[in-house]
Structures are given as C-alpha cells and as structure tokens.
Symmetry: C2
Subunit: 357 residues, 2 copies
Amino acid sequence: MTHKILVLPGDGIGPEIVAEAVKVLNVFTAEGNLSVELEYANIGGIAYDKEGQPYPETTKALANKADAILLGAVGGPQYDALDRPLRPERGLLAIRADLGLFANLRPAILYEELASASTLKPEVVAGLDIMIVRELTGGIYFGQPRGIRVLENGERQGFNSATYTESEIERIARVGFETAMKRNKRLCSVDKANVLEVCELWREIVEKVGKEYPEVELSHMYVDNAAMQLVRAPKQFDVIVTSNLFGDVLSDAAAMLTGSIGMLPSASLNSSACGLYEPIHGSAPDIAGKGIANPLATILSVAMLLRYSLNRPELAERIEAAVKTVLASGVRTGDIYTEGDRKVGTAEMGDAVVAAL
Amino acid sequence: MTHKILVLPGDGIGPEIVAEAVKVLNVFTAEGNLSVELEYANIGGIAYDKEGQPYPETTKALANKADAILLGAVGGPQYDALDRPLRPERGLLAIRADLGLFANLRPAILYEELASASTLKPEVVAGLDIMIVRELTGGIYFGQPRGIRVLENGERQGFNSATYTESEIERIARVGFETAMKRNKRLCSVDKANVLEVCELWREIVEKVGKEYPEVELSHMYVDNAAMQLVRAPKQFDVIVTSNLFGDVLSDAAAMLTGSIGMLPSASLNSSACGLYEPIHGSAPDIAGKGIANPLATILSVAMLLRYSLNRPELAERIEAAVKTVLASGVRTGDIYTEGDRKVGTAEMGDAVVAAL
Ligand SMILES: CC(C)[C@H](C(=O)O)[C@@H](O)C(=O)O
Ligand SMILES: CC(C)[C@H](C(=O)O)[C@@H](O)C(=O)O
C-alpha cells in the first residue's frame, strides 16, 4: 500500500528542515520498508505570494486526498502588513478546520543530553516527559459570533465566542484518555470552570468519559494553577488535555521548559487518522536560507506521522532512537550547541540522522 | 483625615495573615502618622456560612463606603459542593464588579535573599522585577451572553463571550503606560490578535493610547509567546498589560518564577483610587489555624494600599524596607525557610516586621 504524503514546506526555514525530514523518509523507502508518494504544495506566506491565498484551493484539494501532511513552518515579517485573512497563520487555521484536525498532540520532552539548555534547575526538569492534548478546531478560535461591532453609544466593541458542544469535548477527552492509557495513566484536564460556563460543561463531560477509563487517574486543574505548576513542578504531569486557547498557551510554556524547542514535534489528527505533522517552532526568518536551522523537530514529526497516520510504530521508534544516537555523539546545530560539541548545519544534521538509521 | 479601611479576613489562613497586616497598620496610627478607621466584614466561604452569600449585602454596603479594602483569602474544600453562584470565589468576582476594580496590579519580584527558592536558574531570575497590569472587570470573565444551551440537535453547548469596548481597553492601557512611566518605561501588551477580533481592537487601542506616551517603549506579544518568554528570559519584561483571562494565567506563571508566592501582594483599583488589596496566594486550608502561614504578602499588600489608595508612598516604602530588613536578618516562615535560617510562625513574622519599622 502506497501512502500519499503531502509536503508543505511553507516559509522561512520551512523548506530547509522539511528537506531533511524527507531524506529520513527516503531511507525507509530505499530499504523497501515503506511505500510513499510525496506531493508538494504551498501554504502560508509562500502560498499568498504564488497563489494569492494562505491556503489555496490547489493545496486544499491535495490535502483532502492525503493520508498525512508534513508541514515546515509559516510566517515572516514581510507578511505583517497584509490584511489578517491573508496572513500566513490563517492558512494554518484554515487547514486545521478544513481537515477537522481536532486533536493536537504536543509532547514536551527533555533530552538528557540537552538538559543544560533549560532555564529551569536540572532537578526540576530532568526526565521531563509531558504530552499535551490540545483541542484544535473548536473553542474561541472558531466560535461564532465574532467581530468588531458598534454599540448604541457609538463605541466599538470587539467580541469572540468560546463554545464547546458535548460531542466536541467528548472526542478530545477520549484522545486524552487513550493517550494516558498508552503512557503513565494519569490525565489532568485543565479548565477555568470556576469562572466560565463553557468549562463547566467541559469538566462534566471529561468526568463522564472518564468513567470508561477506570484505570486512568483523572484530575482537574484551573488554567492559572496549571501555568504555575508547570513552572513549579512540571514532572507531576503525564498527559494534559485542554481547550484550544489554554492548550496554545500551556503547550508553549511546557515546550520552553525543555529549553530546546528546536527538538519538539507535533501532530494534529482528525477522526480518520489523517494528520498534519509539524515542528512546534516557527519559521525563524532571521536564519532562513543559511542552512543552520535544526531539522530534528521536523524529523521527529515524521516519526509521529509514521506512528499515528501510517501505523508504523517500529519505524517511528527507529527515528527516535537515531535522533538519540546523534545527540549522544555530540553532533549539534547552533541552537542546541554548547562548548565541546560538534557544530553542524541543517543538512549535516539530517545526514547524521540518516547515518544513524 | 481619617481613612475608612474595610478588612475582609475571609477563609483559611486569611484571618491569621490579615491580623499581622493590621499590626503593621497600627504602628503608623500609634505613631500618629496615620488615621484609619477599621471595619470588618465577611467575604467568601465564611460569608456564605454566616450570611448565606459569598458577597453579602452588609459587606457590599461597607465596601462601597470604604477608601480601601484589605482582603486575606477566600475558598476551602468544604465549599466545593456548593452551587457555583454560592462558592467563595464568586464573592471575589462580585466585589471586583461591584466596585469597578478594573485595574489589577500584580508585581512579580524576586527577593535576593529568597533567590534559591525559584525553580529557575539564578542567572535567569536574579533581580526579577515585573509588574503585570491585568484588566479585571471585563473580557470573558464578565462577557454576555454566557451559559449552557441546548442546540437544535439536542446536544448541549457551553458558551462564553470575550468582549472589550474601546473605553475599557483605553483605561487599562492608560494604567499600563502610567505604571511604565514610573518604572523603566517599557510596556508589553499581550494579546492573541492573530486569532481573536477582540484582541485586534485591543491592539489598535493600546497603540492609540501609546501615542500619548512617546517616552514609553511599547511592544506587542502573543499570549503563547509571552508564556514562553516568561520561562525563557523573564527579565526582558518591565510592565505587561493584558486582558482579564490572559492576566490570570500569566501573572500566576510570573509569580511562580520567583518561587515565593507567599511574598507577593496585589492591588485592584477602580477609577476613584479605591482599591482592594490582597496577597496573590490562596487560603491554604491545609495550614489554616496553625499559626505558620507567611503574612508578608499581606503586609506588602498594606504597602500597596498606602501607596495607591491612601497616597502615602513614604509609609509604603517603610514597610517594604522593613520586610527587606527582616529577610536579611534570616527570619523565615516555613514556606521560605532554608537551612540556617530562623524559622518563625505567622505572629512572630508580623512582630519582626513591626520591630523593623
Ligand atoms: C499561529 C497561530 C495561529 C497558532 C495557534 O495559535 O494555534 C500557533 O500559535 C500554534 O500554536 O500552532
Ligand atoms: C479565584 C478566581 C476566580 C480568581 C480569578 O480567576 O480571577 C483568581 O484566580 C485570581 O487570579 O484572583
């Protein structure tokens, strides 16, 4: 069976890091271990430049036929002056909505070899391994009504709606519990139910789904406390499940605890296992085209792609092991370099992973 | 002139820590340096117990006549089973709305003597001094419509509205700029304008108000990035101004960077300089009544009260200096104790501050 993979290099360092990730995929196809058909399309700023839209129809058509999507990054200062609907990040929001990618899995893992990069004390973060399950197609990101209106007194008012239905909560809760079952069986649901009605319903439904997972230890935490606890004692968490907006904030905080966001992949899944895979870092326009960006987060995104969309966990594990081998050998891109390491560029890092495979 | 101060001890450790703060006020009155009339009332769980409501009419009447309010803390596990409108924290939300306390000032200061309590590396947090200006009576906390409704398909949907008008944004932006003018003249406005229309308006109005403060260096940051930057390099911030919900999350994260939330006060102000002052920590039911809670955050809240509502900055500075003297002398409550210090209880700590005054 041949899997259709759509590759969306995007902006900034996107094309460079995606090229290395494709090298890694090619190892498996050359081995005869995997059959994939790669197609390329535009998203974000480059899509606006070439096709006038951050998520053009051509890309949309290909995305809807793909088994999985590998994305680099979107955005750049040259697009800041565009009208909001045309900006690169709207392409990202559009593809999430279009494909129904409601479950965003964002691991925050501290690699032992990179422990010193964290701004937190070693004993606080050593061995950190959290999985954040963020709802990605609902909540205030997509809620209606929204806009800027003029009130009777002539003043303008901005307004957005945070909404969740029972079924939206149920399906993301289920992903949370299933994820916890495969890990240490602890799930923390983060909300603000002491203030928001939408979170009251969230908590009720998460509790209800929890009845089906008696083995999972479920807890609830308010979002302000969760932000505190991530700083105070992050290792208390196994899996966190939360809404779109809270997940946006907490997953970035959690990622930064590791000090190496150039290492962290992500997966955004829909209900038919099609997924979009991308590094959590941005398009880093300042270093784009220099061949120095760290491709490991994108390479590890390929591992997630193999695990979640192609159902090839053994290949995913090979990539993850290869990345560990490379780190252990002291090979580093600039962002994770410390004295005594061997500093390499983007392509060399990709080659090192290929060699370790 | 005699200032009317309403004292709301609240729940848990509230009464104990407030008693020490009152001792400190009494030093100034005994000196003949200050004339205050203290009245006491109930809020939170104790108010529900005694008067059936977390913010009773009696308290409301006194609050509306007060020049300033000193609050301990609210909440406790015995109230978790109550209907939400009766829970302690609803008392807090009600008094904020009732008095129009729209500007919440939350400093995150790292005391040199307590630097080791932080989970962050010393070089990352040494000298940390951030002021977070959080909007406190608008946004999704109070936005209408809100609730849980039944959709046409029979499913329930939870919904809340995040709203801000131009004038609401303008007045909190002004507090942000004024605060920055008294400090290092750098203001970072945090929003999510790449996704939310309410934040588009927020950013526009903050920019507009900024024109009146050419000396203040204004920047904008998305909330997810702000959460990251607080972990990565918190000292880049001077003053942060943000909405109610983002402020809730970021100010707790910022507070935890110091490692000593038992030290951090807060002020919530309205447009006529009446303010509510409280420690940022909670009611700590586990240690309530044991006489071991740290009263310093509440004592430092009195300093803010003197500065912002009573316009007595010189008295505020005396309290702040006294707290530093006490810390330098090695006197510590349990929460900030490390080996070699002199461990004391709540009352002894209050006495130590009084002695240092
Ligand atoms: C670019 C932005 C719209 C996006 C989001 O807020 O979801 C990003 O921050 C993310 O987390 O993927
Ligand atoms: C108790 C709760 C309603 C409150 C809030 O969310 O504002 C608290 O977290 C705070 O920050 O004062």
